[in-house]
Structures are given as C-alpha cells and as structure tokens.
C-alpha cells in the first residue's frame, strides 16, 4: 500500500500528473496565459496573411523610404524599456514593496503613452500623405492595408494595456494591492512587447 502511495505522489509531482493545481499557478495567471495564446493566434493570422500578400505581390514599397525608421526605433526602445520597468514592478510587488511597484508601474505607463503618442503621430503623417486602408501613393494597396490592420490592432492592445496598468496601479496604490494582480497585468504588457517585436522585424525591416 505504501508503495502505491509513493507511486501516486510521484505521478502527481510530475509535469503531467494533474492533482489540485496541474499548472502550479493561480487561476488568474493561467487564464491570462490562455488569453495571451488566443490573442497571439490572432496576430499569427495577421502576420501570415501579410506574408502571403507580400509574397504574392509583384512589388513592395521600400519601408525605409516611406517610414521614419528613427521614430520606429525610438518607439521600439520605449516599449522595450517599459517592459523592463514592468518586470521590475512585478518583482517589487512580489517582494511586498507596493510603493515601489506603483512607481515602476507609472514609469511603464509613461513608456506606453510615449509609444502610443508616437504611433498616433505616425498614423496621422501616413494618412496625411494619402494612405488609406485600400489605397496608398507607394504601390500595392495591400501595403497600407497590412500597415493599418497590424499596427492598428497592436495600438488598440497598447491602449487597453495602459488602461489595465492604470487600474492595477490605482489598486496597488490604494492598498488593495495584489502581487498576483501586478504579475497578470505584466504578462499582458510583455505580450504587447512580443507582438511589436514581430511587427518591427517583419513589417518594418524585412
């Protein structure tokens, strides 16, 4: 009998053992991971569709001539740096330093606002030069269509991420603080960074 219990314990302790907490994490964090996976699948679809249009297109505009690459690099820098502060906010929250966590969260929000502001500037500049969802002055309509759809969806994610971060910061600041809550918001924010890494490489650089 004793041997059976040991065997059972061994199975439960393994990665596929199930048990009370099969994933060894809280339900909130696990749900955020599931959401991130489903959201990532949306962006995988966008990037694949863009790749197909790009491969089938007889020509494609030179991005460096259309976009201000200095601005795009600055936006990337702002988002990566905000991710750094987000990671530190999670660290501070988990180690029971809510004030420090709020301070880092606010810096993360500033980074996100800088990114979003730059994107608004980029969009208005792009539209001002005659780009629309179905047409643009530089060549195939798929160019501006994929730009607006991919950066637009990503921008909406940044906006909702900023709202989530503001909510998390207010909760942490008003004492309704939860280390897990900060980590869940952090997962979403880092995911936004991950998506931008893909857009930056495949839409702006390739």
């Amino acid at each position: 009998m004793e041997a059976t219990i040991t065997e059972q314990e061994r199975i439960l302790a393994s990665d596929w053992g199930g048990g009370k907490s099969p994933f060894g994490t809280t339900w909130g964090k696990f749900m955020m991971w599931i959401f991130i996976v489903s959201d990532a699948l949306t962006f995988v679809g966008f990037i694949i569709a863009y790749g197909m249009m790009r491969a089938m297109s007889p020509e494609w505009p030179d991005q460096a001539e259309v976009f201000d690459m200095g601005l795009i690099t600055f936006m990337t820098f702002a988002l990566i740096s905000s991710s750094l502060f987000m990671a530190m906010a999670v660290g501070a929250a988990q180690q029971g330093r809510p004030k420090e966590a709020v301070r880092f969260l606010l810096i993360t929000i500033v980074g996100g606002v800088i990114f979003l502001g730059s994107q608004v500037y980029e969009w208005s500049h792009f539209i001002g030069e005659g780009a629309r969802l179905d047409t643009n002055p530089w060549g195939v309509p798929q160019f501006s269509a994929s730009f607006f759809v991919m950066t637009g969806f990503h921008g909406m994610h940044v906006l909702s991420g900023l709202i989530l971060l503001a909510y998390t910061a207010i909760r942490a600041g008003s004492g309704k603080y939860s280390g897990d809550g900060v980590e869940i918001a952090g997962l979403y924010w880092h995911f936004i960074d991950v998506v931008w890494v893909f857009i930056f490489a495949f839409f702006y650089l390739l």
Partner: protein, 102 residues
C-alpha cells in the same frame, strides 16, 4: 512553489533589457543592409525568436513555470503555423487572382 525561485534583484532584468536593445540594433542593421531576401528573412526570424525567448523566459517568468504551461503556450502557435503552411497552395492561388483582377 514556483514563486519562491523568482529572482530577488533587478540585475537579470537590466541584462535582458541590454540584450534586447543590442538585438534590436542588430535587426536594424540586417534590415538596412542590401542582401538576398532569403538570408535577410532567416536572420530576422532568428533575431526575433531570440528576443521572444528572452522576453517570455525572463520578463514573463516562463522559465520558472511548469513544463506543461510552457508547452500550452507554444504548441498552439507551432500548430497554427503548420496549419497555415498546409493552406498555402490554396491561398496562394486566391491571392494571385486578387492581384491579377485589380
């Protein structure tokens, strides 16, 4: 618990941030240099995957999670890529027609 093994200092985050910036500059360099499309795409995919691994493993703490959670996050994406790959012959035909019809 997994939380007990989380890093106590910020040093690892600074180093990760530095590497992410280096890889961003590297990607910018690859993007601006004139080279065959296939090589450029391969290099950019490599750099991007490197950045993704850094962000998910260190910033998102995936390296402290159990193997089943790690597999649950990455397997669907790989499966989606395989699915899209098998759809290329049909999609390519349609996409070509859309271009020719314009």
């Amino acid at each position: 618990m997994a939380e007990a093994t989380h890093p106590t200092g910020y040093r690892v985050y600074y180093i990760t941030w530095g590497w992410l910036l280096v890889m961003t500059l590297l990607a910018l360099g690859v993007g601006s240099v004139d080279m065959p499309g296939g090589i450029k795409a391969t290099l950019l995919v490599g750099i991007t995957l490197g950045k993704i691994v850094l962000i998910t493993a260190i910033f998102m703490h995936l390296r402290f999670e159990r193997l089943n959670l790690i597999l649950i996050t990455f397997c669907p994406l790989v499966l989606a890529l395989i699915m899209f790959f098998f759809m290329i012959p049909d999609t390519a035909d349609t996409a070509t027609r859309i271009f020719l019809d314009r």
